[in-house]
Amino acid sequence: MTAIPDTRPKMRGARFLQSRGMRRFFRHKLAVLGLAMITLIAVACIVGPWLLPHDMLDIDIRGRFSPPLTDTYLFGTDEMGRDLAARLFMAGRVSLMVGVAAMVLSTVVGTVIGLLAGHFGGALSTALMRFTDAFLCFPQIFLLLALAAFLEPDAMMITIIIALTSWMEIARIVAAEIRSLRERDFVTAARVSGASHAWIMFRELLPNAAGPIIVAATLTVARAILIEAYVSFLGYGIQPPLPSWGNMLNNAQQYLDSAPWLAIVPGVAITLAVTSFNFIGDGLRDALDARSDMP
């Protein structure tokens, strides 16, 4: 028997970029715009602080409340004369990191719970889904504030708290998707072959539920950024001097009349990031919709 050359990895990459799903995504103008905007924001936050002449903690007493484009201050300075641009980009690192990390955590938790509930069904499913419903019963903001008031609110803790209050939607989406997939014949074929539960869950079911999970995860990033912003704005989130887009707004409200750019600059950053993630989510939903994905 001659060996058959394995051309799989190469084909997979090409298949991904040329697939109908990706072509559909790139036809979605707002989604492409969102992707470009997020890339821009991310790059600015990563390299920005190195390119700017001022550190985010440098205090310039004589240059307090400089409006944007004064001297070397791109976005002006705050009440202590710190460079707003430097603070914005450092805050962006924190806010985006919290958003993405909370998304990863809540997606993993939601997917595992949804997968177990959907695959096994029966009493386990009932227990897990009622547990999910119980979490959904609490208004998210109160749960967040209560937890944040008790726990030491550093970036890591805020991420965990946000993840703990936002995995339920993904769990329900995954459970519903898995329940419909497990009736498909290819799953029966795996059972007939003696496949383990783990194989059926992770090789047969999960890859076919990837579309809805990716869409929900993208929208979760947007929500997590927003949640971090308002928790920090209320003073329970990321604590100064570490900046985040939320706590920058907190300081800014006192100077809304005299120095409105202090509020506008981080406000625009939050708005752009959140809407961009939402546009990407919409684009992915069109591209990965299970119904149109079926060949």
Partner: protein
């Protein structure tokens, strides 16, 4: 000399609750299959026919030990499968495989052909290495008439007939003793149906397979089966060697099915028996003979006891009390042509 049959079902029943009963009051149940006892002898093909909702597929799933039966048992090569745990069932899984009705749902869209075909080998004792799986998959692809270059393709690149061939190749990867084929050609174009049926006939001969071939199409059954079992409302009403059943049906339902097979001769002079009404509800089947509500020969006695399968000829059993009937055999060139090709 009686050899242990490959598959023997004993009073197999599968009831599905459709409403939860109040405490102390039983809820309604669908009697999808209700006391089926048949033998599938080694290296023989048993065709199971019946209309939609007769319980054919439920029976197939129960035979494959996919759903635990409500009562009765399935013996595979003398072992009662319904008593085995998931782990204890594993060695038997390798010896029994199935092919599915819908070629668009039976292949995982995210797996290449090589992965799909390799899967059954992963789970047998000891497993099989990657190159061994690939070699075997290539061999099986050629066996079902597909080029080995298809190994790295994905299901969406194939037509229904090609997918069905891939599904057949997957079922044969472990060289099973028993193959269950559930309506395997009903989703295919007629021209492709013939190719796939011929493939089954060839594979069955070459690999000495024992098969349960489920279909609603009598012409298909005549083409591939040694023995035909006719199912109605979850019960076997007649079972006989293919030729005997086509030339001398003994149950009125079989007669009606045979007469309904399309004739290729336009206006071919033959009586067609049109059954009145629908299949009765399996939740609340009629008393006595379940077919009596639609049977043109029903008499008062039919409503009393449920007729058991009784011998009416060599290897020929029928569940009808009207043994006095002279029923019409199959006519038309199609069924006869099908019989020419049948092994029986």
């Amino acid at each position: 000399m009686s050899e242990t049959p490959m598959i023997r079902t004993v009073d197999l029943a599968q009831h599905f609750p459709i409403r939860k009963g109040l405490p102390g009051r039983p809820g309604a149940v669908v009697r999808a299959i209700d006391g089926v006892s048949i033998d599938i002898p080694r290296r023989q093909v048993v065709g199971l026919v019946g209309e939609s909702g007769s319980g054919k597929s439920t029976f197939g799933r129960a035979v494959m030990a996919l759903d635990p039966p409500t009562s009765g048992r399935v013996e595979f090569d003398g072992t009662d499968l319904s008593q085995l745990s998931r782990a204890a069932l594993a060695p038997y899984r390798r010896r029994m495989q199935m092919v599915f009705q819908d070629p668009f749902s039976s292949l995982n869209p995210r797996m290449s052909v090589a992965e799909t075909l390799g899967m059954p080998l992963r789970f047998r004792e000891g497993g099989a290495g990657r190159s061994e799986r690939r070699d075997r998959a290539a061999e099986m692809l050629e066996m079902v008439g597909l080029p080995r270059s298809y190994l790295d393709r994905f299901p969406h690149e194939f037509s229904g007939g090609q997918r069905q061939r891939i599904g057949i190749a997957r079922a044969l990867m472990t060289s099973p003793d028993f193959l269950m084929a559930d309506e395997v050609v009903s989703a295919l174009d007629v021209s492709v149906q013939a190719q796939v049926l011929n493939l089954f006939a060839r594979l069955q001969r070459e690999m000495e397979l024992t098969m349960l071939f489920i279909t609603h199409d009598l012409a298909v059954v005549g083409h591939v089966s040694d023995i035909v079992a006719v199912m109605y409302l979850g019960r076997i009403v007649e079972i006989a060697p293919t030729r005997a059943l086509f030339s001398g049906p003994r149950h009125p339902y079989t007669e009606a099915l045979l007469s309904a097979a399309p004739s290729p001769v336009p206006g071919g002079a033959r009586k067609r028996i049109i059954l009145e009404g629908d299949v009765p509800s399996p939740v609340n089947p009629p008393s006595g003979c379940p077919f009596r509500t639609r049977c043109p020969y029903a008499i008062a006695a039919c409503a009393e006891d449920r007729p058991a399968l009784a011998a009416v000829g060599p290897d020929h059993r029928s569940a009808c009390i009207r043994t006095d009937l002279d029923l019409m055999p199959a006519t038309g060139r199609r069924t006869e042509a099908a019989l020419e090709g049948s092994p029986g």
